[in-house]
């Protein structure tokens, strides 16, 4: 379980994406992300909750208390319209970023490389 350093803003977009499938509580988000990334991306739990609350204040998420199947009171987060729009923007940005990074990582060797 090596801790991987997140790029800033990554956690937020991951949370938004997770919640785009449906309402979920904080633990659920953490567990799903861990499972989904094969435990590669360990969620820094200490920053998850502040991020959730921040996003709630920004109006991207709204929260609601519900009772879980284990009869526990849990705070469920749900994407708002604003959150959905934000997710769209972030996804595009990520795609561009990913293309840019991979075009470097997977591209052909530059001309000057042969001389090295």
């Amino acid at each position: 379980m090596d801790d991987q350093q997140f790029l800033p803003g990554t956690l937020e977009v991951l949370v938004l994406k997770t919640l785009s499938w449906g309402a979920l509580h904080g633990y659920g988000i953490a567990a799903w992300l861990e499972e989904r990334t094969g435990n590669v991306l360990t969620i820094e739990e200490g920053s998850l909750y502040p991020a959730l609350h921040r996003m709630e204040r920004k109006g991207w998420l709204e929260a609601e208390w519900r009772i879980t199947e284990k009869k526990r009171r849990a705070k469920y987060y749900r994407l708002t319209a604003a959150g959905r729009a934000e997710l769209g923007r972030e996804e595009k940005a990520w795609a561009r970023f990913a293309v840019a990074v991979s075009s470097v990582l997977e591209g052909e060797a530059p001309a000057w490389a042969a001389q090295g």
């Binding site: 509580h25 200490g46 909750y49 609350h53 921040r54 709630e56 526990r72 705070k75």
Partner: protein, 888 residues
């Protein structure tokens, strides 16, 4: 983190979101889930717990951060919600009011009337009692007394005490300012004052200098200070006026040197309706004592308190000084001087007479406002009952009670604000209708104008009213059992019990309050009627009173007599004039000369001589004004010559007092105990000052000789329409001598009317309030009755279906409606009997608790209230039983 959540924490949320508890719960949930997962993965519970906590990291730090964020969010949310909530409530209320126009109009009219009447009254109180006098530190000004008139030596003595830093005697006097170039000869009111005047009032001349103490000496007293107004109108605002000698006749000098001009905005202190335009110095020949000072009396002594001295201290010192003077001058000063000695605040001394009346009227208008609020509260209650269903639904949907109450209060406040603004406008109209500012009805009434305090009063009153009529109905309409109405979904048979009780109390108190006001108004109206039925002692109809001021200096010796004889002759020759005659003071005014006398056969008393009213008249005066000569004869022109024997007439009261049952003709009276005159006739008594004051003993001497006065009031009996003659009379005076000014000319019945203007004002105001109270009371009774009857339709319908007869139903409805009215009438009558005394000196010819007047008021109230009860009762008795039952 392992302690169980205390149960009470949960209940905290009952009062709204609790960010701290939410964070706690959220983190706890996270840990519990994580531990479960780890245990499921094979760890033992304790290890799982430690691992879960490790992964979460700095729990306390997170908790703090989240809680802080949560509280901030909660605060902004709350602010936003309450602000948008108020706007929403207001627009909601506006929509509701627009839909219910009849309700809105009724409520606004009621409020506007109540607030308008109260603001008008408060404007008067504010102007007369609350606005400070227009001088620096006005609360330090005091008026000294023994009695109203002092001789100058006495004035000097009593004001020379340590508690006073400056003082001045003040006499009111009339002077003739001679015409020149393009200015007519005119009469100017003057204030005769001491050098201390300027320190007392804290005002110095803007141009020139104040008076000097040595200008009390007759030889040096020929100076004058102009007010800004006279300086501008008569002297064109010319600064070179200082040092100019102007022809200003009267008070000893014919010509005076202008030494100063007062600043603009300075209003000389004075009597209502009389504005002095010049200041001249008091003067007195040589040193005199209280006993030997025969100078003209000063009317008032005004002083300024020394630093840190109080009015009480000044009063005590003045009393102590007067005590010593009474002992030092026995036979000159008497016990009445001692009894009346003192000092009081200048403003108090001006408004003391009317203060109680004004406060009584303010209380009366308070009753009107209470009635208006009671009606509105009732209206709101009825509306609230209608809206219970709606409110119940909203409460069920989660609207909190506070919200519902707030919403209704917002509506009340909107109504109150609009009603208050309307009322403010209405109060302007009321004050205009009462002509309060120009009639010089009350001292300082010209100050009754809109100012910040009046506006603040209007809005404060409106807000208070909104709470008064809005809060109870709002609480009632949203009472805990609102939800029951939701289930019942149908009307109850009658109003709920508390509703009935408050309806009874409302009607009873409205009727009681209205009875009191109507009874008060009735008492004042009977007083006016009693006053009008008093025989004034002369017949003022068709008589024109012309106040003429000949310049005294130019009219010495026999010239004044000759002038007036000529003027009277000219007037009698005028078409439309039957006859004319003169007296030196206008009847029905405060002006008076009272002289000490010693009558024939009377032992000189040990103290001061008694005094009687003194008047100078010309031949024909009595006939002109219709004052009967009961025995003997009128003055003849032969009595007017300088060497004729001094003769005079006395009134019947004086004759009866001096020689009861004996013939007074031919007997003598010594004026001042020295100058004898022979009684040639007896005339009827006249209410010389006002109809509500008893006639006093009076002496009338012939105009001429030693009593050849320069200022006289010439009466002309006309053939109708005395006012139309004014221009001709003025022309006649100017033709005789352009240096003689007509002070004013007006019909004598107007003078008589003016003497009652204050009573008329108070009676008019209270009658207006009484009518308002009557109308509001009737509307209130009608409203409650209609509502109760409406709510009982079903009950009566069933009764009639079961065979009750219409008459029985009507009787039952009437008795139910009249029970609170009767209770209110009884209360109101008792209160009126006890409270009539508040009207005190305003009553004339009627006792404060006059049973007939109070009974009449109760009768009027009873009839009006019966009508208000009868209409809804009749409506219920005409109900079609079958229809009511089907509707159920």
């Amino acid at each position: 983190m392992s302690d169980p959540i205390p149960v009470w924490r949960r209940y905290l949320r009952f009062f709204g979101p609790d960010p701290g508890a939410d964070v706690e719960d959220e983190l706890r949930f996270h840990l519990e889930e994580r531990i479960d997962a780890l245990v499921a993965g094979g760890l033992d519970r304790e290890t799982a717990r430690r691992e879960a906590e490790r992964r979460l990291g700095d729990v306390n730090g997170i908790r703090r951060e989240l809680t802080r964020m949560g509280q901030k969010a909660e605060r902004t949310r709350r602010h936003r919600e309450s602000a948008t909530g108020l706007v929403r409530d207001a627009s909601h209320a506006a929509r509701r009011l627009a839909k219910d126009r009849l309700f809105a109009a009724t409520a606004l009219a009621t409020l506007a009337l109540g607030v308008g009447a109260a603001v008008a009254m408060f404007t008067v109180v504010n102007g007369v009692m609350l606005r400070p006098l227009p001088y620096p530190a006005p609360e330090r000004l005091v008026r000294l007394s023994p009695g109203q008139n002092f001789n100058m030596a006495l004035a000097d003595e009593v004001s020379d005490v340590p508690a006073l830093s400056a003082s001045t005697g003040i006499s009111f006097w009339g002077l003739t300012l001679m015409g020149e170039a393009d200015h007519r000869t005119e009469f100017v009111d003057a204030q005769v004052v001491d050098a201390g005047y300027f320190d007392v009032f804290g005002v110095m001349p803007a141009l020139g200098r104040p008076f000097r103490p040595e200008e009390r000496t007759p030889a040096l007293s020929g100076v004058v200070i102009l007010t800004d107004g006279l300086w501008r109108t008569r002297f064109g605002g010319d600064p070179d006026v200082i040092g100019r000698r102007i022809r200003l006749d009267g008070y000893g000098h014919r010509v005076r040197e202008v030494v100063g001009v007062m600043p603009p905005g300075f209003r000389p202190w004075g009597r209502p309706g009389q504005e002095s335009r010049v200041l001249i110095p008091l003067n007195r020949p040589g040193p005199r004592t209280v006993a030997t000072d025969s100078t003209w009396y000063v009317n008032y002594v005004i002083a300024r308190l020394a630093p840190r001295a109080t009015v009480d201290a000044a009063a005590a010192q003045v009393r102590a000084r007067t005590d010593r003077l009474v002992e030092a001058y026995p036979g000159v000063l008497d016990e009445s001087t001692r009894a009346s000695a003192g000092a009081m605040g200048l403003l108090d001394s001006m408004v003391g007479d009317v203060r109680r009346t004004l406060l009584t009227l303010l209380a009366a208008v308070g009753v009107v406002v209470v009635l208006a609020c009671a009606n509105l509260a009732n209206l709101m209650l009825a509306r609230g009952e209608q809206r219970r269903q709606e409110l119940a639904v909203r409460a069920a949907l989660g609207a909190g009670r506070m919200r519902l109450v707030r919403e209704q209060l917002v509506e009340s406040f909107m109504l109150a604000a609009a009603g208050g603004a309307l009322g403010l406008g209405l109060s302007r109209a009321l004050l205009g209708a009462l002509r309060i500012t120009d009639a010089s009805v009350l001292p300082r009434s010209e100050l009754a104008a809109l100012d910040g305090r009046v506006v603040a009063f209007a809005f404060g009153l409106s807000l208070l009213a909104a709470l008064g009529f809005g809060l109870l109905p709002a609480l009632r309409a949203t009472r805990g059992d609102v939800r029951e109405d939701l289930g019942s979904g149908q009307r109850q048979l009658g109003r709920s019990r508390p509703g009935r009780r408050s309806g009874f109390a409302l009607v009873a108190s409205e009727v009681a309050l209205a009875t009191m006001l109507v009874a008060g108004a009735a008492l004042l109206l009977s007083s006016l009627r009693a006053l009008r039925s008093v025989d004034p002692g002369l017949d003022p109809s068709d008589v024109l009173a012309v106040e003429v001021a000949a310049p005294p200096a130019g009219y010495g010796g026999d010239r004044a007599r000759a002038f007036y004889a000529a003027l009277i002759e000219r007037l009698e020759a005028m078409p439309g004039v039957r006859r004319a005659g003169g007296i030196h003071l206008t009847p029905f005014t405060e002006s008076n000369w009272g002289f000490p006398y010693l009558a024939e056969g009377m032992e000189p008393p040990p103290g001061p001589l008694p005094s009687a009213n003194f008047r100078v008249v010309t031949p024909g005066y009595f006939e002109t004004v219709g004052q009967p000569v009961l025995s003997g004869r009128d003055i003849a022109s032969s009595d007017q010559s300088p060497d004729a024997a001094l003769v005079g007439l006395i009134n019947r009261r004086f004759a009866d007092e001096l020689w009861p049952g004996e013939d007074p003709l031919g007997r003598t009276i010594r004026l001042f105990g020295s100058t004898p005159f022979t009684i040639i006739g007896v005339v009827g008594d006249v209410h010389q000052h006002a109809l509500d004051r008893e006639p006093r003993p009076e002496m009338y001497l012939a105009h001429g000789g030693a009593w050849s006065l320069a200022a006289m009031v010439v009466m002309a009996e006309t053939e109708g329409g005395p006012a139309a003659l004014v221009p001709a009379v003025r022309a006649a005076v100017a033709e005789l001598d352009p240096d003689v000014a007509v002070v004013r000319a007006r019909p004598l019945h107007e003078v008589l009317g003016d003497s009652m203007v204050q009573r008329r004002f108070f009676a008019g105001v209270l009658t207006f309030f009484g009518v308002l109270a009557l109308a509001l009371g009737a509307v209130g009774v009608y409203g409650v009755m209609s509502y109760t009857m409406g709510a009982r339709r079903a009950e009566y319908g069933i009764r009639m279906a079961l065979g009750a007869r219409r008459e029985g139903v009507l009787r039952s409805a009437l008795s139910r409606g009249m029970a609170p009215v009767a209770a209110g009438l009884v209360l109101g009558v008792l209160a009126s009997l006890a409270g009539g005394r508040l009207l005190g000196s305003l009553l004339f010819g009627v006792r404060p608790g006059d049973p007939l007047t109070v009974a009449a008021a109760a009768g009027v109230l009873g009839i009006v209230a019966f009508t208000a009860v009868f209409i809804p009762a009749l409506r219920i008795a005409r109900v079609d039983a079958a229809r009511v039952l089907r509707a159920r």
